[in-house]
């Protein structure tokens, strides 16, 4: 085990998409109980530097493992298929049509209930996409298809953020 071990190795969990959030959280805390700089606050400079590196590494791994989107992207990359969201923007036509419909719906939504309804719809779509990632990765190991799904999910997540921001402005 060292700083360049994979997130899965570091957390001692199987390298796959399906993960138990409770296990991840428990291991994150166990690792931080060892590595956190607070454990070395009265120690020497060398110890503090090493603690900082490890603590950052453990947090980075946890951020990636606990988020299904980041975890899926990480698994694709580990299997040699880059996500390349910036350069690879090709999406199926029906997906793009749906995105446009959602954007229009958000523009037209005048009050909180209307935006809320849209938020529910988008959340449902995200759940479905995560289910399909589970199948693509854990059952089929179809990395190119999983990477395409990750890119699509990134689109949807960005839209979900816009919806959330809109709800915030309506509530403030």
């Amino acid at each position: 085990m060292n700083l360049s071990s994979s997130d899965f190795e570091l957390f001692g969990v199987a390298m796959r998409f399906e993960q138990d959030p409770a296990v991840l959280s428990e291991r994150w805390k166990a690792l931080q109980a060892t590595a956190h700089p607070d454990r070395f606050a009265s120690g020497g400079a060398a110890e503090q530097r090493v603690a900082m590196q490890w603590s950052v590494r453990v947090n980075e791994a946890y951020q990636r493992l606990k988020d299904p989107l980041k975890r899926a992207a990480y698994l694709c990359t580990l299997h040699g298929v880059a996500i390349d969201a910036e350069s690879n923007t090709a999406m199926p036509a029906e997906f793009l049509v749906q995105q446009m419909q959602w954007r229009e719906a958000l523009d037209e939504a005048a009050d909180e209930p209307a935006v809320d309804a849209l938020a529910q719809q988008v959340a449902g779509a995200q759940r479905d996409m995560i289910d399909s990632l589970r199948t693509l990765i854990d059952q089929r190991q179809d990395w190119p298809a999983a990477a395409a799904q990750v890119r699509a999910l990134m689109f949807v997540r960005r839209f979900a953020d816009d919806v959330a921001r809109r709800i915030e402005t309506l509530q403030d």
């Binding site: 805390k29 166990a30 060892t34 606050a41 603590s55 980075e60």
Partner: protein, 621 residues
Amino acid sequence: MALLQISEPGQSPDPHQRRIAVGIDLGTTHSLVAAVRHGAAECLPDAQGRAILPSVVRYAGEGRRQIGHDALAAQGHDAENTIASAKRLMGRTLADLGNAASLPYRLVDRPGMVGIETREGLKSPVEVSAEILASLRQRAEDTFDDELFGAVITVPAYFDDAQRQATKDAAKLAGLNVLRLINEPTAAAIAYGLDNASEGLYAIYDLGGGTFDISLLRLTRGVFEVVATGGDSALGGDDYDERLAQALLQRERAQPLSALSATDKRAWLQAARRAKEALSIHEDVELDVALTGQSLPLRASAAEFHAATADLTQRTLTLMRKVLRDAQVAPADVNGVVLVGGSTRMPQVRAAVAGFFGREPLTNLNPDEVVALGAAIQAHALAGHAQDSELLLLDVIPLSLGLETMGGLVERIIERNTTIPAAQAQEFTTFKDGQTAMALHVVQGERELVSDCRSLARFELRGIPPMVAGAARVRVTFQVDADGLLNVSAREVSSGVEAAILVKPSYGLSDEQITTMLQESFATAETDMPLRALREAKVDAERMVLATRAALQADADLLEPGEREGIERLVTQTEQAAAGDERDAIEAATRALAEGTEHFAAERMNRGIRRALAGRSVEEV
């Protein structure tokens, strides 16, 4: 000068026993210092038995200072030279302060942070805060009749990088070794958590004199995980006073507060504050406003007070809702609500919070003291007193950090509510053919436009080899340490050209400025700078020697043959240097010891990590 202690031969006291660590709540209206004594955290009182030190500093002339109660008493007749609520000015420019007109001081716009014009010249809010911290440090040292090992200082969770850095600078100026800056609501949770052995999701509603903070924490067996935070660094009890003063003044004189002289303004604000306190118990109150040359009798009712401040309370609930949304939880998921800050004594605030969560908030600890008590418990643990796994704090950054990109847009690098310490790298590229330099602008905030976010620092990466636009690959790394302070570095990947910045100079105080302040007639600072530096070098050396000895005792088996002897030689050299009085030699030996044990520290950590997961084997695939 205090006599130095000498122990009996062969019976040197356990070094850990001597480490006195305190928690300091540096508040907007009042500050406290607490420490763990005889196993329990308690606030340390002054010689008159008062735990609370009003956060007020008066520059009385001829280099004299009044700090705390005496300064507060002088506020009425010397408002301009008596600085209260300096915390609201920390790390802020005049443009950041929406309410500058209502403050009774002469504020001076300066790059990075406002200055306050006093009869003793221009003072920085950092200097004012340092006076308060130094006074508390003195109190603690008098209590223990010993020097402090270090302090944990609390800041509002919503404090941004500039405000945190300013707080750390103030501590440095006051001669305090900062073990950690921790968030006030987190400190409150620690005080409650350890007292009540609570588990589950807790909301900490902290309405102080000048700041409002809301944090959501998950407590599990000694681990305090901050799930989300929010708040407003310019909303607090002072605003309630001001609203009430405005309302009363409008009714009596049909005048705005800003039209009054500094002294009259102060008189109205003090009257409003007294009225507020009375109205937390009674339905109406009669009092006098001590104006220049006359005393004005006044009546105020609770209904009037509530009407004038309802939107302030409402705003706290809106911010609360936002934090719950960030954490994706509903009010009903929260297992307990903790009230912190003197302003939560207002009945309308308590009722609003209880209504929001549908449960009565916890108030069994003194809301004025709870933050300092929690900080003391954390300080005690950081000084190495607590047993392993007893207490672990996993905190988050309150605001997103990002970089300016083309078109004045923000590219967020580290999202808010990310657990710290954290690091994140992202690659950027050039915009023009042959571009050899890149201007990097670091910002903090949630908005998409740079102009709506807070500018933290600007720096340049120069010497990029000329390439076509978009060919350079500049990797920018953001690193946030456990105090929540940011470090940014940039590196062009193909050429290896580098630039880095500790995000500080553009708004904080430079190290030179701090040194200058320390050398100037600072009330409580040591007069003998070289002596102080020598002592600090000795303490560092001693700490390094102790840490290395403990490490060798625990894990010497990790070392290759010969390595141990090398490290022991460095330990001996450091000890010998520390016995002398040559600061350079002591520092060099300490540095050599740190470098010589780096590999050992890494090996020890690897072992620790393996042990942490021992018995939790990889699940079956």
